[in-house]
Symmetry: C2
């Protein structure tokens, strides 16, 4: 009798895939991609190691998928934060602040997505990630120039400077989140966010806000 | 007869080591660490592949050594550029400009040192690299606050933002040096440097310079 995949089997497969994805993200959020071993993921997902390789060709392919999913979520958050009512400087202030606060609330996740040394396959996804942020910021900078709240400048390069400054300060190797200087209360978090956002906005507008 | 290393042999060994180091740097400058294959290095240095492993335990150890040497040279250049006569803003302007111009003159070298995905052993050296830059910038920012040319701020974080903004804009994945937008003449180079340095100094001082 020929093998036929029933609807129930398809559902079960989709559920297993989803569980593997969730378990991988749990590992990554806990200790970065480096610590996300396939045996640990399998244990968390309650599947055999071999099952993972039936759903994903390799650990790298699984990680790239995780990266895409997590990325899209973060990029969507920044897009949402930029969509508030206000001029471009206010919208960028809101989005940068939102980005920084999310990173400080989940420093390991932020580090894994932005700065952790990863496999080239995942690095490719990261490129798309940085580009997506830069594109969002660039559009807002263009809006600001058009409405007169931001002085005329090379919008592409300014957006890249923004991405660099905020990434390095939040999750780079010198970041407080990566050293023993991690703020241990909300007040320190707020000061950190204020300082970074202030640097970024001054860099754009030349105005002390 | 017991083996004894003569002065002549020691000299020959030191020369071979030096030649290996120079050849490795030549490869890295040409195509990054990824492209620096041991066989190619050996060919350039005119030694057998095995000779390289008599001087360095592994390819990673050789790369880490290259990284340290190249790093120190670049950090020294920034320290020199910061040592000019003038106030802190002028000194930072000079140093950032110098850094940017050197990166644009040797984009592959700059990328290899700052942004290329590398082995963790080399990544450790990179951490020292970023820290050394941040320390130099931080000292200058402190001087600026003391003399009143830079407003009071978290100097550590501001220095980190500077390193992030200039690195990302110059050699990050979105940088013109990493895409087809590479400036093809000195005028464009100057515009690029002006834009980046301007963003950085505005970020620090809140003044349109």
């Amino acid at each position: 009798m020929a093998y036929r995949e029933t609807e129930k089997m398809r559902q079960r497969k989709a559920q297993a895939r989803q569980k593997i994805i969730e378990s991988t993200w749990e590992c990554v959020a806990d200790g970065g991609f480096q610590s996300a071993r396939v045996t640990r993921i399998a244990g968390l997902a309650g599947v055999a190691t071999g099952t993972i390789y039936r759903h994903f060709e390799s650990r790298e392919d699984l990680f790239a998928e995780i990266f895409r999913l997590a990325t899209q979520r973060e990029v969507d958050k920044v897009a949402e934060a930029l969509a508030i009512t206000g001029n471009a400087v206010q919208r960028l202030d809101h989005a940068l602040r939102h980005f920084a606060q999310r990173a400080l609330k989940g420093p390991m996740k932020a580090w894994a997505l932005i700065a952790e040394p990863v496999d080239p396959k995942v690095e490719e996804e990261r490129l798309a990630y940085r580009r997506a942020y830069a594109n969002l910021f660039e559009q807002a900078i263009r809006d600001g120039i058009a409405e007169g709240t931001i002085p005329d400048q090379n919008t592409r390069l300014a957006a890249t400077c923004l991405v660099g400054a905020i990434s390095e300060a939040l999750v780079g190797p010198l970041s407080p989140t990566q050293t023993s200087e991690l703020p241990d209360n909300d007040n320190n978090d707020n000061e950190l966010v204020d300082t970074i956002v202030c640097f970024c906005l001054r860099g754009l507008t030349g105005t002390r806000s």
